[in-house]
């Protein structure tokens, strides 16, 4: 019997599992994918937001700011990276320029005091490779870059280290709430718990309907495609370049990443499918062109990766958080989830109002350093050999990711834990070695069998 079953191992679920575990609750995290971060959380823009442009007075803003603060508090103990890049909201037209004072006022109103107007000259002094066509901007130095996969991994590893349980390949198929307790049916057997926390992301509404009979919100999947430029592009840009947002979306961002690439995206494409994170050539080409307009030096740079993420938007703009007896839903966490996750977890704990005793001396596991500016594994002797040359992933890192309390559950999970195969050659050199090293580890193996002679 668990106090809490967290359904969904995305960034929000991982943060909630951690928070509730540290508060002393007995937690089980149920994830239907082969690994955590199998849904919306695997594809985002990796920015730790200040909340300067979030809706004033909203729960979203409160959670983003609480999450931002907590991330900075805990990151060194979990060995999570932070690239203090700063962001510039750039206006490229008179119409956009006219919106800047409003953006600045909103930032100040949201408590982000470190934000100010910058002239094209000041922007170019900071970012000399940017197109000189911009008319002005708002600089927000507190916007930072983080590792979008190591962060949730660290949260869930800390939950595990302090007593939580994680069940992957476990889909909730039904549930009955009676006498103050749930009996959940799952694909790996029944789970008994006091409270269900719905962190099911793209399936938040279907889970709610399954458990409570009707859903209070409707997921409207919104796909975002991204293009990742080669590491040679990294020296072109220090700051996150944000567009002036529209009513519907934050728009296309050009940003460095902690891994030393330049990322351009996302698009905002409404679609029915909750799983189809497909890319298309025309859109990818448009993104590459858009990126090159903003950062002309991207012309001729190699494209290292292409991907799409699906944001669990709903029919309304705000987060869809609600509580019922034995049930808390953290729904509609669209695009600010990476920042807000730790804050949402605090908020959910507040709603839950548990009487458990917090863990006295929690264990702080550390995640591998994957950020380019950090001390990577290859810098310490005895790493064995380099397996992925583009990302400098060592055999020691691969072996560690395939063992431990939460080994990679599929190839995507291995990539997110080690960077292997994520570089410019996309596995030309290392894929076969990875197939060998991961043999027997994944339900969906890299090799389909032996090669006949």
């Amino acid at each position: 019997m668990f106090d809490v079953a967290v359904v969904g191992g995305g960034v929000v679920g991982c943060a909630v599992a951690r928070r509730f575990t540290l508060q002393g609750a007995r937690v089980v995290l149920l994830e239907k994918g082969a690994d955590i971060l199998s849904g919306a959380s695997k594809g985002n823009s990796a920015i730790l937001h200040t909340g300067f442009d979030a809706p004033p007075g909203s729960l979203e803003l409160a959670c983003m700011q609480a999450g931002y603060t907590e991330y900075l508090e805990i990151r060194e103990r979990l060995r999570l990276p932070l690239l203090e890049s700063g962001a510039i909201v750039c206006a490229w037209s008179e119409e956009e320029l006219a919106k800047l004072p409003g953006i600045l006022a909103q930032a100040h109103g949201n408590g982000v005091a470190a934000a100010w107007m910058v002239t094209p000259g000041e922007i170019l002094a900071r970012e000399p490779n940017l197109s000189a066509c911009m008319l002005g901007g708002v600089l927000v130095p507190g916007e930072h870059l983080i590792d979008p996969w190591s962060a949730p991994l660290a949260y869930v590893l800390q939950a595990l280290a302090n007593g939580a349980e994680v069940r992957r390949d476990t889909e909730v198929t039904g549930g009955v709430f009676a006498a103050g307790a749930w009996r959940l049916e799952t694909s790996t057997g029944p789970v008994a718990c006091g409270t269900v926390i719905n962190c099911a992301g793209l399936f938040g509404d279907t889970l709610e309907a399954l458990l409570t009979g009707a859903a209070d919100f409707t997921i409207k999947p919104r796909k975002g495609q991204f293009v990742v430029f080669d590491k040679a592009a990294a020296r072109l840009l220090r700051s996150i370049i944000l567009p002036v947002p529209t009513e519907r979306t934050k728009g296309i961002v050009v940003t460095p990443t902690v891994f030393g690439n330049v990322l351009v995206g996302p698009t905002a494409e409404e679609q029915d499918s909750r799983t189809d994170a497909g890319t298309d050539e025309a859109t990818l080409r448009m993104l590459a062109e858009k990126g090159t307009e903003i950062l002309p030096g991207l012309a001729g740079m190699g494209i290292t990766a292409i991907y799409a993420g699906i944001r669990p938007a709903t029919e309304r703009k705000e987060y869809r958080v609600r509580q019922a007896p034995g049930y808390i839903a953290l729904g509609g966490i669209r695009s600010t989830g990476l920042t807000a996750a730790l804050g949402l977890a605090q908020h959910a704990w507040g709603l839950y109002a548990g009487a458990q005793q917090p863990v006295a001396n929690p264990i702080w596991p550390q995640v591998p350093v994957l950020a380019e500016h950090g001390a990577r594994d290859w810098q310490s002797p005895g790493y064995g050999e380099v397996i992925c040359h583009c990302e400098m992933t060592t055999s020691r890192e691969i072996e560690a990711a395939l063992r431990g309390p939460l080994p990679a559950g599929d190839y995507g999970g291995l990539k997110r834990r080690t960077r292997a195969g994520m570089g410019r050659c996309q596995g030309f050199y290392c894929n076969a070695r990875l197939a060998e090293l991961s043999a027997g580890c994944f339900a969906a193996p890299l090799a389909v069998g032996g090669a006949h002679d």
Binding site: T304, Q379, C425, Y429, N431, A447, A451
Partner: protein, 399 residues
Amino acid sequence: MIDVAVIGGGPAGIAAALALRARGVARVAIIEREGSLGGVPRHCGHPPFGLREFGRIFTGPAYARRLAAKAEAAGVEILLRHSVLGLKPGGVLDVATPEGPRTVKALRVLLATGAREAPRSARLVGGARPLGVLNTGALQAYVHLQGLAPFARPVVVGTELVGLSALVTCRGHGIKPVAVVEAGNRATARWPLGLLPRLLGIPVHYNSQIAEIRGGARVESVLLRDGTVLACDGVLLTGQFLPEASLARLSHLVVDAGSGGPAIDQYGRCSDAAYFAAGNLLRPVETAGWSFREGAAIADYIADDLAGGLPSAEGGVEVIAGEGLKFVVPQRLTRVTQLRGLMQLRVNAPVRGHLRVRAGDEMLARQHISTRPERRVLLDMDGIKIPSEVSRIVVDIAP
């Protein structure tokens, strides 16, 4: 201090190291990031390799072993599992090793890091991202180095020589390609090799490209632009080689956007005169035999240079790839009384006309040309006289 550090232990790098030792250069080191020498031929399990170098025909792995043995016998220092991560001015290298990071200093450095095929991302092939989308190099490593099969029924994209070689690799290891997809209206490889898919009973879709890869955990099908859906469990992306020039791109060296490799002069010398480059890093893509000879030739210039025998690179002449040309190598000519050697070029589109070398309005050379984009084009520089006041020449195609 090392005399010459060769980065990359494939055919070009090994040939260069052998030639340098033969010229009496004392300390020659090959820095190779893999666990063995040989480069790409290590996993090309088919002949013909080595005919010109050794007068015999080898399979790729046997050729690679032969090269490695030669390097060892010649007294070349071989640093395996050493990854060069940074090139600093004057021949200073940042190197990662299993014993920890170190700096290697050399009087001259030869970059010979080869080429690889363009991955899916660089081709912007859309759709889902299931397992089973690979390049030929990865397929060869699966079957030849690991004894594994990454798929059983792939769709093969491309009909360059490497694509046809991939078909042979598949057939030799129980993998049955379901179709070949080629963007052009005919096979890229020369007749009669282009007939190979038909001989193997594999349908070829010409004028066709993948619009979308479909699948969950693994590839299930591909959608072609004409609406055809091909059921398969993998996609093999062949050819479209790119120089492996990341080190140069991340360094102070000038990289040519046309070739994708470092810009060199007729001696293989880069924009920093301590650095030279040879092999498929210079341009996509030539055979192992070509790379071997090129490595040896450029090593000869390096030996000359160490002996004080190369003219200064100061005041060189820029070579511009003009109308109709994708690239020209070398990108710069050091001024000498008698130009020698070959210019390597590629055209942008099938062409029949004249290849011209001009300095302003003055025609320095002109020859008939009839070729296609993937084919090697050579221009003999012997006899070309560059006027002394000229700082750039243009090579282009005219009717």
